[in-house]
Symmetry: C2
């Protein structure tokens, strides 16, 4: 009897790809397949070839030669071609052609490799169920943290662990903006405009600066980590657009940097998922992240803490991740989309983050006797004690910028205090509160 | 026709393990299987069970209940049991029972999961060929960098990359010793003795402090990275036993820390593999590594640089890595031991490291006029220019400790200079030279 699980000198035909989308990532995939054919065949155990490609414009000038491949105007037609084994979906977008092509590929009994976090954050559960009913795989290493093999690390490398917490900086554009603001001392609006001109921002910039893209990624990691259905809508989202250059400077003065940080953890009350600006120690691994680099931290009961760092975007890193999935399929590796059968994923109970944390509090006080005492009294009343406080000089003598780092307190206590502060009559503006994560 | 590569609701029986070795790692594996049975079955798609165990002493008191498992005095008998699907070899040792049990398992058509770097560094090529001829797998995630899923990242996650360089700190004991020397200001011999009493050192401490254990690991990574046969004998090995507290202090004074760092890269002249103490910037990710933490850096042509950090040893992390391999086998994932068929791995041409690097040079000069000029003249003659120099005060007025950081120079030029320095007549001892890696 032949054993299908045996390794050995079986002759496998080429794995034939249909590539939908020829932007940066699609071109990167084509380039790797064209330049590394021998390496790929040796490692995958069989050739990896491209049968057909599809994109919006056939005539657009592209830096790779596509003449050897069939062209499909319609990605759905590409997905259905009998000479395509795997649909590589690198078009993007949570709906539209990416969704219909993925559905068509699954319906036709093909595997799908995608770089599309929006698609999976919104439709991942249904698509995974459909794929698994057909005995087919959806792979998405490139959808989270670019070239960092974090989906593999979580789904396979840490599969024997109860995952305690997943966190990370997973959007390069926002990290670029925050880093650039600090390094050049420029205000948010100006750096935002720079990033737009450099082409770093998505067509809808809220996807980046609103934390949505990073939230998509976090929700996918959480599903794998905790065996829950993807719950993007339950991610507490907060963007970086309210971060001022003052906050960046004052945080630096206290030894911190501001990062758009995602945290997902399962608690007794349910699944916490938040993506929000946080202060992290400037000399910590997260604090040292510059520009478009991503970092993901995985914490398991057996393994402890694993930290992974690498490029979060770009042609090479993203194509590397897409091709890792393709090679897995070529090697015959078969996994459930989220690491266990989609039908066994449970609906999570969303829980707001209630764990105590230290907070950074910036406020502008009227410069009159007793102002600070009134603020301190409100904080004290709510059980919030002060770790460090600094008052800064200000051109406008009637206003005193004050910075407070609290000891650990609950977000609830903080919210109460923030609600009560205006009644003191000593604030001259809205206070800014940012969580501090000492990781 | 049924497709063996399909995912789906096929009923698979349990994957049955035989565990050879019940030390820290073996106990950790038993503990995970006993406490996480549901989680493992859900993720692996089938139950993972233990049939039988084996160790040197049956009566030794162990913190897990083994009464449900058959006992084998002889690990070879364990490996041959028809009710064992996978041999989990966690005994250690490059020969003896670990080798014979592994051979027996392969001969009997079973897969092997091992944490044994020494075994694979010495016999990996032959064992991989034997296993692959039988259609069986040898998996060794736990053999390198403990809980960090680095074998998986390199073999699978980065499989589409030409790997340019692999480097890392992969021996927790030496890193503990170096960290402790710096933090407590203690000399090598004293910290070595502490480490021995804490049980951190291998029975033969040269395995740790001589860099052998870390060299084993590097040689396994290099085989995967470059498609070459494991060439442990070609690793340029240098231990940490010559590192003095003076070097640690002076390096710190210049902004560096000393780490036992492994580097493997393929050059036009052949495969460079070295494991030696290096200076790294104190504020770099490698420089910030404390105690038993490991870090591995993988560099690929497409992905750029990937950095992974985590616990390099200990029950939980190592058992986590062993179980990741077991779950892969349970899921039906089948890979060649070194990422491509063992028969296709090529014999590497060993090459000594010739790339220029800056060096740290410590020497003691006779405190007389012109001493430093003579040293500088020799360095200049060899084309070595000085980046920074410091002369320190010393109790013994006749001796001047001098520290030089060179600009980049070839190891060959440095070796020439070191050979010529004694002839100047101004050295009062052997100079110490340590490579600086600015990573």
């Amino acid at each position: 009897m032949s054993d299908p699980q045996k390794l050995g000198p079986q002759k496998l035909g080429p794995l034939r790809l249909g590539i939908a989308g020829l932007g940066t990532v699609g071109v990167g995939v084509v380039r790797i397949i064209q330049t590394q054919a021998d390496l790929l065949a040796r490692r995958a155990g069989r050739p990896i070839t491209i049968t057909a490609v599809s994109a919006r414009s056939k005539t657009r000038n592209r830096p790779v030669d596509l003449s050897a491949y069939a062209w499909e105007d319609d990605p759905v037609a590409l997905a259905r071609r009998p000479d395509v084994d795997v649909l590589v979906e690198v078009m993007g977008g949570s709906d539209g052609p990416a969704l219909t092509a993925t559905e068509a590929a699954i319906a036709a009994g093909k595997d799908v490799v995608t770089a599309n976090k929006a698609l999976l954050a919104h439709h991942g559960q249904r698509l995974a169920e459909e794929a698994e009913a057909k005995g087919r795989a959806i792979r998405f290493e490139a959808a989270v943290a670019g070239g960092i093999p974090v989906i593999k690390a979580l789904t396979e490398g840490l599969a024997a662990n109860q995952i305690r917490r997943v966190m990370g900086v997973m959007n390069g554009t926002t990290n670029y903006i925050l880093t650039r603001m600090e390094n050049a001392g420029l205000p948010y609006d100006q750096v935002f405009e720079e990033a737009r001109q450099l082409g770093y921002l998505e067509a809808d910039p809220q996807l980046d600066v609103g934390g949505i893209d990073a939230g998509h990624k976090l929700s996918l990691l959480a599903a794998i980590a905790f065996g829950t259905k993807v719950a993007f809508d339950a991610v507490e989202l907060e963007g970086i657009d309210r971060i001022s250059i003052d906050d960046i400077r004052l945080a630096a003065d206290m030894g911190f940097r501001i990062k758009l940080l995602g945290v997902a953890q399962m608690t007794g009350r349910g699944l916490e998922q938040r993506m929000s600006p946080c202060l992290v120690p400037a000399d910590s691994p997260l604090g040292q992240l510059q520009g478009g680099t991503n970092m993901v931290v995985l914490e398991g009961d057996a393994v402890g803490q694993i930290v992974m760092r690498g490029a979060g975007a770009g042609e090479g890193p993203t194509a590397s991740a897409v091709m890792a999935d393709v090679i897995d399929l070529a090697r015959g590796t078969r996994l459930s989309t989220f690491g266990q059968p989609a039908a066994t994923l449970v609906e999570p109970t969303p829980a707001r983050a209630t764990a105590p944390a230290p907070f950074y509090l910036r406020m502008a006080l009227a410069d009159k006797p007793g102002a600070l005492a009134k603020v301190a009294a409100v904080l004290g009343d709510e059980g919030i004690s002060i770790d460090r406080m600094r008052q800064y000089a200000h051109e406008d003598r009637s206003v005193a910028p004050v910075l407070i780092v609290t000891h650990k307190c609950t977000p609830e206590a903080l919210a109460h205090a923030l609600k009560r502060l205006p009644a003191t009559g000593v604030l001259t503006g809205e206070p800014v509160a940012i969580r501090i994560e000492n990781v």
